[in-house]
Every structure is written in structure tokens, then in C-alpha cells.
Symmetry: C2
Subunit: 251 residues, 2 copies
């Protein structure tokens, strides 16, 4: 029995990478069952950079997860003020089971591929497969902690600390994807414009630009081009975030 389903896990996993939800310690058999059921209702879609994946108020026909690329989750006020409330990287979940209308915008920052599941059948599976809902719960609790940690950044940190926090989070998540720890010399692309960073941090794009260049001048980071960052001094960057220790930050 185990033998016959084992290949299925691999095929599904290699197929869509991390979909439908971040992999956890679950017995292989149950995971295979879940994935096999999900397999039937999934499809893929790719979005161009800058394309809107979901508009606030849209009917939500699907949920899914990011396979590749970076997307932003954000809110906009009528006067144009915008706040990003989440940065969606590969393995992150998109959409909300149980909700018919979107309450946030989702926009592709780079080219983005999403593994999608029709919402209604997905919700039925959620009831049928306890492991699936268990993992969804675990994920949403992690995201909730991450959102709450971000509130400290938005509410109490100054501009320099905000930039340092953003860089350390992107660096850490980038490292996770490639299974590398965060060390001096780590390099990565920021896949966001200065404006998108500002929208995430509750700043203006001018302030973001000034603070990034200040961190560069102070030798904490170095830049190659506008978007490619090298972290020269990890410990220093962590200090600059204003957080106590090496960063128990979630996400």
C-alpha cells in the first residue's frame, strides 16, 4: 500500500514544488492521500510582473499557493495610501477558504506562477481530510504570528530599523528556499521597487532610498545595481533591526 502511493507523493511534489501547503512533518501515507485528492482539482496559472492576481472585492473562485516568483498582498485607501500586509514567496498560501470575496489586493511583483485549487472543492476536501485542515491551521497560525511581529516594525521602529528588518527577513526567507543559513556575505535580489518596499514598511520611497544608501555607506550592506544586495555584516544588520536577539522573527 505504502509502496503504491509513494511514487505519487514524488510526482505531485516535483510537479508543483511545494503546493498545496508548506510541507510539514506528517506521515507520508496521509500526505500522499491528501495530495492525490488535491491533484484532481489543481491547475496552474502564470502572471506577468505588475499584473493583478486578485482585486479587493473579487469573487474568490480559487485558493492556491505560490510556486515561483514574488507577489504582494496589500490594501489601498481611497486617497491612494497603500499598505502591504504580506509578501508572498514560493510555498505561501493565497486566498482564504470560507470567504467568497477578496479583502486584499494580490499583485505579482515578478513573474508569478500559482498552483490553484477551485475554492468550493478545496473546502470540501478540508472537511474530508483532517490532515489538510490541520496543516492549514498550522500555517495560518504561523502567518498570524508573522503578521503580529510585523506590527512591531510598523508601529514602533524607525526608518533605519524598518529597512534592516525588511532586509533581514528577505535574506532569511531567501536562505530558507535554498536551505542556506544566514551568513556574512549572503547575497540576494530584492524583488521589490523602492515604492513597494515603502508600502511594506509604512514609509515613503525617498526615505527607503536614503536609508538603504545609509546602510551601504556604513558598511552593513553593499549593492550591485539597485536591487542586488550583499550583507557584509550579518550581526550588525541584526543589531540595526532593533530586535533583541538573533531574531526569532517568524516568516
Amino acid at each position: 500500500m505504502y509502496q503504491t502511493v509513494k511514487p505519487k507523493i514524488d510526482s505531485v511534489q516535483s510537479d508543483c514544488g511545494v503546493c498545496p501547503i508548506k510541507r510539514r512533518a506528517v506521515c507520508a501515507y496521509c500526505e500522499a492521500q491528501d495530495l492525490a485528492e488535491l491533484e484532481k482539482i489543481k491547475s496552474y496559472k502564470t502572471y506577468a510582473p505588475g499584473e493583478m492576481i486578485i482585486w479587493t472585492g473579487d469573487d474568490m473562485r480559487f485558493v492556491g499557493s505560490i510556486v515561483s516568483g514574488v507577489a504582494s498582498l496589500s490594501q489601498t485607501m481611497e486617497d491612494g495610501r497603500r499598505q502591504m500586509v504580506g509578501l508572498l514567496l514560493p510555498s505561501d498560501f493565497v486566498g482564504r477558504p470560507g470567504r467568497a470575496k477578496a479583502v486584499f489586493d494580490v499583485e505579482a511583483a515578478t513573474e508569478v506562477t500559482i498552483c490553484r485549487f477551485d475554492r468550493k472543492p478545496f473546502e470540501k476536501l478540508l472537511v474530508k481530510l483532517p490532515h489538510l485542515s490541520g496543516r492549514m491551521l498550522e500555517m495560518s497560525l504561523d502567518e498570524l504570528d508573522a503578521a503580529r511581529e510585523w506590527m512591531l516594525v510598523l508601529g514602533r521602529k524607525n526608518a533605519r530599523e524598518k529597512i534592516a528588518s525588511l532586509l533581514s527577513i528577505i535574506a532569511r526567507r531567501e536562505g530558507e528556499l535554498h536551505k542556506k543559513p544566514l551568513l556574512d556575505g549572503a547575497e540576494f535580489d530584492i524583488k521589490l521597487t523602492r515604492e513597494a518596499m515603502a508600502d511594506y514598511l509604512g514609509l515613503t520611497l525617498e526615505t527607503v532610498s536614503r536609508q538603504i544608501n545609509a546602510l551601504k555607506k556604513d558598511g552593513v550592506i553593499s549593492l550591485q545595481g539597485k536591487r542586488h544586495v550583499k550583507i557584509c555584516d550579518c550581526a550588525r544588520l541584526m543589531m540595526e533591526t532593533g530586535d533583541d536577539d538573533d531574531g526569532g522573527m517568524v516568516i
Copy 2:
């Protein structure tokens, strides 16, 4: 069968009010089963105003829900800057299944009674009772949306809009408890000091004081004492929050 368990629902519900988790549309039978199981592992504890319920880093022996009173969920930086990341009112969940160490402080703002469940047995029930984990999922997704909505307040609203947002949220949640809609003339106590409000809004207590008195001077609200608020003009208050419409705000 239904008949024999029905009284149990009532007894449990009247016993601890809303525990263990916000009531939803679930078939009465399943709910009764869940509650009967939970009944066995629950206990109550009451905390004095100002008392710490959980310190960041504590071993989490229990999870539970607020029965009465108001508590705050917050984070503190070493230099003393503090950010409240959640306001816990009756029916709100406390703690995180699957996590052994607390990552936020929980403090009683008023006298608080909590209906507690030992964490380990609760986690086992979570696996055993699909309805329970389903409802937990629904709750945590709601809280996640609420946290994200609050990010807009922290990141993009000015002091006056922040105060208006806080008042409208407290008023709305207060109304929910008493099943009253939010109308002109609605009254309630703010069960937070100016400092706690400041910590929720990412402001200083002086700014909170000034802005509350500004809203009073402008006839949006009136005060009896320092903490009792009457909303004179609901529509106006909603305008002052800066949000587009009547407020799809969660929480």
C-alpha cells in the same frame, strides 16, 4: 440522541460563556460532542487588573479563551518600546496549539477570567475532532485578516485616524457582545489607559490624549470621566477613520 446531549451544550455554554472558541454555525450534535470532550480538560482562572497572564518565553502549559474582561497581547523591545498586537475580548482565543514557548506577553487590562485547557490534551483533541480544528482554522483566519487590517492603521494612518479607528473597533466589538448595532449615542468604557491605547496605535500617550480631546471638541464623541465614551456621530466617526465605507474591518 440529540435530546440527551442537548442539555450538555447549554450547560457548557452557560457555564463558560463562549469557550472554547467563538461559536459558529455548526450542527448542534457535533458541537456538543466537541464541547463534552473539552469539558473534561477545562479549568478557570481569574487574573487581577495589571497582572501578567503570560510572559514572552514562558512554557505554554495551556490554551484557552477569555470568558470576561479585557487583556492585551503585546511585544516589548529591550529599550522599552512596546507594541500591542491584539486586544483580547470575551470569546477571543489565548495561546497557540503546537507552540511550547510564548512569543507575546498577555496582560490583564481589567480583571480577566480565562477558561483554560491543558495544551497537550487540547492538541490531541484537535486531531481527534475535525470540527474543532475546523473552527480553530476559521478563527485564526479571521484573526489574521484583523491583524492585516490593523497594519494599515499602524503603517498609513495619522494620529486622528488611528484614534477614530480604535474607538470604532472597540464600539463595534462592544456592540457585538450585547448584540446591538453601532448607532449614534452608543456608549462604552474604554478599558485601556491612554498609555495602552498609545501602545496599540503606535503613538505616545500625550498624542492619544490630545487627539481624543480634539474629537471631543469637534463633537464626534463626548466623554463622561476619562474612560467612558459616547459616540455622538457614528457616520462622522467612520469618516474620521479614513476607511472607505461603513467598515468591513474584521475584529
